[in-house]
Symmetry: C2
Subunit: 362 residues, 2 copies
């Protein structure tokens, strides 16, 4: 299976075109491509995790905006911008944690407002489609930059642990944390990967193991509770994970269980790296305690994919994410390089040095 | 459902009787009682986890011995003792980690050899059945003692975390770690429990949540990777787990993932208690690194209970147990009381003070 075939989502055609998307809930059993043609279908795809992963959600937000406004009956700019706001407000309700969702929606809004006042409604629609495709292309370029900056952190012969799926399937393609492995492979480096299963939705076993396995990378699947044991056995040299939102001090929110991995890594002296585009930073939040954590359906744990795993009405606590404090993070890899031992000052410095406008990371 | 109904296994009838057993692989969906009538059926029941949990495996070893030798055609003592050895050697191959298996087999062997030299073969068979029933009764009494010694460690209003199933289903009934909760409930104490799901076989969600839920104890199910987050939120005050084998220095082997929990507990200042009968100690092993760890079928992780969770041929690492170093253990609760901050000296002292013969803990 080539990389091309594992593109996560893409646009086909012009303004009357369609968003094609891998139906990720069916992996690894079935590789099904679905059509997403309305904002409601995009909202639903994001909500039920047909598309997931912070950068892919950012791209989906932009494409979802196009799907929402392309049928706008507005005859003037003011009415069109109102329709746009209704669409972005609606899409913003799909999932609360990944800041890339809001980043994508805000960027589409900003771009629309920045157009010449005399741009016609059809031209506005085309302009927003062009912008969504630009975001998609940028995401692919950013992922390759993440791989380039990240793979030197993995020495030849080392083994890395990853949690959840921060792979091609979490982005337009190629991935964030997994980009490190793809870049290492392309550089001819010998290495191996342990993939946490990542309960309750098994993104690690279903998606990460699938992506790495497909590319011929040496991957071993473990249950989440085995990470400590594998570290104790000296078999893990580095941890690489993605992130859904990073606060201004470097606290990084990611799939539930990432925090546990960071504590285990620290206890075993294993450097823990976060790999994420700068669109993942939310500079309005001083620290990770301010990041809203999505609570998901208890039946994801009680019932799993099929059959029943637990008493049908037992109480369940099912947070989708947790926050890793910056003290547990050896470095954050962005498309511009590595923020080592991140804190508020170093994050700010990284943004300034690389010309990233902090105010846009809302 | 009453406690009586959740007995894990028991003997019905005389020497031509039958071992009744809950088929634990079908819980919580179905409460099925199976008949175990031969040593081969007992070996299989232990191997495929129809019966599991260290103390229950000890009782199963004793009953399995009876099932093996009751049909012995030996006409004299020497031939009978040879048949006995063949049976215990066979049953010893079912699972490698829980020392209680070997303890149960050794006790049956010792008891047979300690009989008067002129005891007839039929009387020897009856004597071993009596001993197996004695072991079963002792196990029930020991579990109640564990509860009595353990529940003062849980203060009113506190919440405890437990991993895997160290409940009635892991013993003749009542449990080891869960005995603490049952005793606390009987004492009218207010408390709550978080139960780790315990991948890959979900003993936490299938068995622990089921047992606690049945008894009206406030239990919340979490995935293994959520334990760190729940501790960080300040919601866990104590950890109680069982053990499959404890080395002479207090290093405690238990279900895979227990070690991770101990590291997380230490990082959050949460006391971590092991609750186990002294039959769990293997005084021949200086420390936990000498405990053999069972490696199980990769498909337990790849396929789970139904359907496929991961690429069908992806490499898997599937250890069934890990070892918690004694430095991470606040106390080991035995039927005689609590060994606080256990080490080699304190374990030895506990054995001497309580008249336990260390040499029998092989």
């Amino acid at each position: 299976m080539t990389q091309q075939e594992t593109r996560t989502l893409w646009w086909e055609g012009g303004l009357d075109g369609v968003c094609k998307m891998i139906e990720q809930t069916k992996l690894p059993g079935t590789l099904e491509i679905i059509d997403v043609t309305t904002q409601e279908e995009m909202w639903d795809a994001i909500k039920r995790l047909a598309v997931r992963g912070a950068p892919a959600i950012g791209v989906s937000a932009a494409i979802g905006t196009v799907l929402g406004i392309r049928s706008s009956a507005a005859s003037d700019r003011a009415a069109f911008l109102e329709d746009l706001e209704a669409t972005t407000d609606y899409l913003a309700t799909s999932r609360p944690t990944a800041v890339n969702l809001f980043w994508g929606l805000d960027r589409m809004t900003r771009v629309a407002h920045a157009t010449p006042a005399d741009m016609s409604v059809p031209d506005l629609k085309q302009h927003l489609l062009d912008e969504a495709i630009t975001i998609w292309n940028e995401d692919r370029a950013i992922c390759r930059a993440l791989g380039k900056h990240g793979h030197p952190l993995l020495a030849p012969g080392e083994a890395a642990l990853t949690h959840c799926n921060a792979g091609g399937l979490a982005t337009a393609d190629y991935g964030t944390a997994l980009a490190v492995f793809f870049a290492a492979q392309e550089a001819g480096k010998e290495f191996s990967v342990f993939a946490d299963e990542t309960r309750p939705l098994n993104q690690g076993s279903r998606l990460t193991a699938w992506e790495l396995h497909n590319r011929g990378i040496d991957v071993t699947l473990i249950c989440d509770n085995m990470a400590g044991q594998v570290m104790k056995e000296g078999r893990i040299h580095k941890v690489f994970v993605g992130s859904d939102r990073i606060a201004a001090n470097g606290d990084a929110c990611n799939k539930i269980g990432t925090y546990s991995v960071s504590v285990l890594a620290k206890a075993h002296g294993v450097p823990f790296y976060v790999v994420a585009p700068t669109s993942t930073f939310d500079m309005t939040l001083a620290d990770g305690s301010l990041i809203p954590i999505e609570q998901r359906d208890p039946d994801e744990i009680r019932r799993g994919y099929s059959g029943i795993n637990a008493p049908a009405d037992v109480k369940v606590y099912n947070p989708a994410f947790d926050v890793t404090p910056h003290e547990n993070i050896a470095g954050i890899v962005t498309e511009f390089g590595v923020i080592e031992n991140p804190d508020t000052e170093k994050v700010r410095k990284h943004f300034i040095e690389n010309g990233v406008i902090a105010e846009e990371r809302v």
